[in-house]
C-alpha cells in the first residue's frame, strides 16, 4: 500500500517540478490539434479549471461553445481560440448591474473585501487615478480594526497628495464615515473613497457593521452616487463566489476590483461570479505601483486567461 501511494505522489511532484508547463498546459498545443474529440474538450475544461473558473462555469462555457459550433460549424480548427474567447466574453458581458455614473455633488466609493485582498492598495490607486484626472479626492480611513491600517492609508495619501479623514484605532467605523461625509461636503470634494476593515464574509456581526457604514453615507449624503466595490484577490479560488454572494447580500455590490492580477494567477473566479451574480468587474490591479490600476477590459482578460 505505502509503496504505490508514494508512486503517484512522487510522480506528480517531479512532473510539477520539472516544468511549470506541465501545470499550465499550453493552450496553443490544445488548439493546434486537428481533431475536436473528447480529449480536446477535456483539456479545454482543464485549462479553464486551472484558471479558477470552477467546474460549473467551465462546463457552461464548453456547452456554449459546442452549441455555437453546431450553429455555425468551423471551417478550420485554427478558428477555435477565437470561438472560445467569444463564448467566454458572452458570459463576461452578462453583467446586469449598470455602472455608477460619477455624479454631483459627490461620488462615494465604499471599498470592501476579505482580509488581505488588497483594499488599501486599491484605494491608493483609485485615489491617484481620480486626482490625476482633476477630481478632488478625500479618503476615509474607516478600517479602525487592523493594527496600523490607518497609518498605511495615511502614507499612501501623503504620497499621492490627497487628504484623509481618520480617528483613533478602535473607534467606530461609522463615526469616521460620518465625519468624512461632512468633511467632503465642507471641502467640496468630488470623490470620497472609504477604506473598510477586512472581514471574512461569513462573520455576521462584521457584515452588519459594514451595512451601517453604507447607511450612514446614504443618510448623510442624500443624492450622492454610491458605488460599493468588492476587492477580490486574483489568486482566490472557488471561495470567491461565496465572498461575492455574501457581500452582495449585505451591500448590493456595484462592481468588483480584481487585485493582484500581476502574478501567475488568472482570476478566473470572476467568471463564476459574473455568471452567478452578474456583478461586473470595474478595475484590475496590475502591479505594485500606484499607477497600476486599469479599467477592466474583457478581451484582454480572456486573452490572459487562456494564455
Amino acid at each position: 500500500m505505502q509503496e504505490s501511494q508514494k508512486h503517484w505522489l512522487n510522480g506528480l511532484k517531479s512532473a510539477l517540478k520539472r516544468s511549470r508547463a506541465t501545470i499550465i498546459e499550453p493552450l496553443s498545443e490544445v488548439f493546434s490539434r486537428k481533431r475536436i474529440d473528447d480529449r480536446f474538450w477535456e483539456d479545454t475544461e482543464d485549462i479553464l479549471i486551472q484558471g479558477d473558473v470552477g467546474v460549473p462555469t467551465a462546463l457552461k462555457i464548453i456547452e456554449g461553445l459546442k452549441a455555437d459550433l453546431k450553429e455555425s460549424p468551423l471551417r478550420d480548427t485554427a478558428e477555435m481560440p477565437e470561438r472560445l474567447k467569444k463564448t467566454i466574453i458572452g458570459i463576461l458581458e452578462q453583467e446586469r448591474i449598470p455602472p455608477v455614473s460619477t455624479g454631483s455633488p459627490l461620488t462615494v466609493k465604499i471599498i470592501v473585501g476579505v482580509n488581505g485582498a488588497g483594499k488599501t492598495t486599491s484605494i491608493a490607486k483609485l485615489a491617484h487615478k481620480f486626482s490625476e484626472s482633476g477630481s478632488r479626492v478625500l479618503i476615509a480611513a474607516a478600517d479602525t480594526y487592523r493594527a496600523a491600517a490607518i497609518e498605511q492609508v495615511q502614507i499612501w495619501a501623503d504620497r499621492i497628495g490627497v487628504d484623509v479623514v481618520k480617528h483613533e484605532r478602535g473607534s467606530d467605523a461609522a463615526a469616521v464615515v460620518y465625519d468624512a461625509v461632512h468633511a467632503a461636503k465642507a471641502r467640496g470634494a468630488d470623490i470620497l473613497i472609504i477604506d473598510t476593515a477586512g472581514r471574512l464574509h461569513t462573520k455576521v456581526p462584521l457584515m452588519e457593521e459594514i451595512r451601517k457604514v453604507k447607511r450612514v453615507v446614504e443618510r448623510e449624503m442624500q443624492g450622492a452616487q454610491i458605488e460599493t466595490l468588492l476587492v477580490i484577490d486574483a489568486t482566490t479560488g472557488q471561495n470567491g463566489l461565496s465572498q461575492a454572494k455574501l457581500f452582495n447580500d449585505a451591500l448590493d455590490l456595484n462592481g468588483i476590483i480584481l487585485a493582484k492580477l500581476d502574478g501567475t494567477a488568472k482570476g478566473g473566479i470572476i467568471l463564476a461570479i459574473i455568471d452567478a451574480l452578474g456583478i461586473p468587474v470595474r478595475y484590475i490591479g496590475t502591479g505594485e505601483r500606484v499607477e497600476d490600476l486599469a479599467e477592466f477590459e474583457a478581451h484582454a482578460f480572456v486573452d490572459a486567461l487562456l494564455s
Binding site: K17, I49, A148, E151, G237, K260
Partner: protein, 441 residues
C-alpha cells in the same frame, strides 16, 4: 473548514457502501463525483487527476471489485489515499540547540504574515520563552507599525530598522540583538511580494543565507485557488521552506490549496490560523483533518477538548452509568453543562464520525436559551421522576410544564430526546462495553 468537501464525500461513500456489487460504471461515476468535490474545494486539478488515476488503478489492481464488500473497499481505498495526500502525524517546529531559534515567514502579500508573526510570538511567549519579532518588511506602507502595534498589545518586543535600512541589514542586526540579549525565539516578518518578482526572491534568499533560520514557513491563504501550487513551488525552488501555515481558515474556505501544497512540495502544513485574535492559531493535525474530511470525525480532538472541560473521574462514572443503563435525567443535566463547556453542539457533532452522528442530529443546534429551558424542566421534576423518567405520566407532565414555565410539548420533546439519547448510547456500546468498530474501517 472543509465542510462542503466532507458532505459531498460522505454522499459518495454512502452510495458506494449501500451496494452489494459494483460495476466499472459505478466506480467511474463515484470517481467523477470525488473529482468534482475535490476541484470545488480548490485542490489543484493536476493533483486531483493523479489522485483519481491512482485510486482507479489500485481499485482494479487489487481486484477490489470482485471482493464481497466492494463498496467498503473502495471507500477505504479513497480514505487511505486522502490521508496520505494530507500527510500523517503533525509536524512541529524544533528549537535550535543554541538559542535564538530563528523562524522566518515568507509568502505573498495579504496572506497574513504579519498577523502570524504576532500569533507565533504569543504562542512561544505563553510557553515562557523570550521572543523577539523582526519587522523585516520594509516595503509595505505601515507594515513595521503594524507589527509594532501588535507587539505592544501582546507585550512582545519588536525589532525595527532605521529609515531606509535594507531588509537584510535589519534582519542581521535583529539577530545580533537577539543573541546578545538572550532572546530564545526570533520571528522574522518579511515583505510579501509576488513569487515572480526576482529581486524580492533574491532578498529573501540573502536573508536566509545570512541568518540560516531553523525553520522557514510558507504562509498561504486558505482561500487561494489553483495558483497556490505555482506560488508554493516557486517559493520552494528559489527560497526553500520547511513547512506551511494556512491562514484565514475561519471563513468558509475549503482549504484544498493546503492539500495541494503538501502533495506537490512534500512540505507539511504545520499551523492553521482560525481567527483574527492573536490566540487563534492551532497546530495542524493532518491525520485528524483527513479523518474529518472523510467523515470519520475527529474524535481525538474531541477527546482533548472534553478532557480540558470535564473531570476525569466524573467522566468515568458517567461512562459507567451509560454502559449499565443507569443514566438518569440528573446525569443528563450534568452532561449538558459539560457539553456546553466543550463547545457549541453543532461543532461537536461535526467532530463525530458520520456514522455515529445520525442525519437528523447534524442540523441540531442547542442555544443557550434551549439549555436553560431544559434545565428548568428537569429541575421541576421530583427526584424519583428524574431517575425513572418512564413514571412521568400525563398529569405529571402538565405539572412539570407549569413548574418550569414551559409547554407540555417541551416536556414531551425533552423526554423523547432523552430516550433517543439512551438508545444511541446503547448503540455505541458493544458486548464488552467497548466502542464497536465502525463499519467499513
Amino acid at each position: 473548514m472543509f465542510e462542503t468537501l466532507t458532505n459531498r464525500l460522505s454522499d459518495v461513500f454512502r452510495n458506494l457502501r449501500g451496494r452489494g456489487r459494483l460495476s466499472d460504471k459505478d466506480v467511474e461515476s463515484a470517481m467523477r463525483e470525488i473529482k468534482l468535490a475535490l476541484l470545488e474545494a480548490d485542490v489543484n486539478y493536476k493533483v486531483v487527476k493523479d489522485f483519481i488515476a491512482g485510486v482507479k488503478e489500485k481499485a482494479v489492481g487489487e481486484e477490489i471489485l470482485k471482493s464481497l464488500t466492494p463498496g467498503q473497499q473502495v471507500v477505504k481505498l479513497v480514505s487511505d489515499e486522502l490521508t496520505s495526500l494530507m500527510g500523517g502525524s503533525p509536524s512541529t517546529l524544533g528549537l535550535a540547540g543554541k538559542p535564538p531559534t530563528i523562524i522566518m515567514l515568507v509568502g505573498l502579500q495579504g496572506t497574513g504574515k504579519t498577523s502570524l508573526a504576532a500569533k507565533l510570538g504569543l504562542m512561544y511567549k505563553s510557553e515562557g520563552k523570550k521572543v523577539l519579532l523582526t519587522a523585516a518588511d520594509v516595503y509595505r506602507p505601515a507594515a513595521v507599525q503594524q507589527l509594532e502595534a501588535l507587539g505592544k498589545e501582546l507585550d512582545i518586543d519588536v525589532f525595527k530598522g532605521e529609515k531606509d535600512e535594507p531588509a537584510l541589514k535589519v534582519a542581521e542586526r535583529s539577530y545580533r540583538t537577539a543573541d546578545k540579549e538572550g532572546y530564545s525565539i526570533l520571528i522574522m516578518d518579511t515583505a510579501g511580494r509576488l513569487h515572480i518578482d526576482e529581486s524580492m526572491m533574491d532578498e529573501l534568499k540573502s536573508i536566509k543565507t545570512a541568518l540560516k533560520p531553523h525553520s522557514v514557513l510558507f504562509v498561504a491563504d486558505a482561500m487561494t485557488g489553483q495558483d497556490a501550487v505555482n506560488q508554493a513551488l516557486q517559493f520552494d525552488e528559489s527560497v526553500g521552506f520547511d513547512g506551511v501555515v494556512l491562514t484565514k481558515l475561519d471563513g468558509d474556505a475549503r482549504g484544498g490549496a493546503a492539500l495541494s501544497v503538501k502533495a506537490v512540495t512534500g512540505k507539511p502544513v504545520m499551523f492553521v490560523g482560525t481567527g483574527e485574535k492573536p490566540r487563534d492559531l492551532e497546530v495542524f493535525y493532518p491525520d485528524r483533518m483527513a479523518s474529518r474530511i472523510i467523515g470519520m470525525g475527529d474524535v481525538l480532538s474531541l477527546i482533548e477538548k472534553a478532557e480540558a472541560a470535564v473531570d476525569k473521574q466524573d467522566a468515568e462514572e458517567m461512562a459507567r452509568k451509560m454502559l449499565k443503563d443507569e443514566f438518569t435525567l440528573d446525569d443528563f443535566l450534568v452532561q449538558l453543562d459539560q457539553v456546553s463547556q466543550i463547545g457549541a453542539i453543532d461543532e461537536i457533532i461535526k467532530m463525530l464520525p458520520a456514522q455515529m452522528a445520525p442525519k437528523g442530529l447534524k442540523d441540531i443546534s442547542v442555544s443557550e436559551s434551549d439549555l436553560k429551558k431544559i434545565k428548568a424542566i428537569i429541575q421541576s421534576m421530583t427526584k424519583d421522576e428524574r431517575s425513572l423518567p418512564k413514571s412521568i405520566n400525563g398529569n405529571r407532565r402538565t405539572r412539570i410544564a407549569r413548574g418550569s414555565g414551559t409547554e407540555v410539548s417541551d416536556v414531551n420533546r425533552l423526554l423523547k430526546q432523552f430516550e433517543q439519547m439512551k438508545k444511541m448510547m446503547k448503540g455505541l456500546t458493544g458486548k464488552k462495553g467497548k466502542f464497536r468498530p465502525i463499519q467499513g474501517f
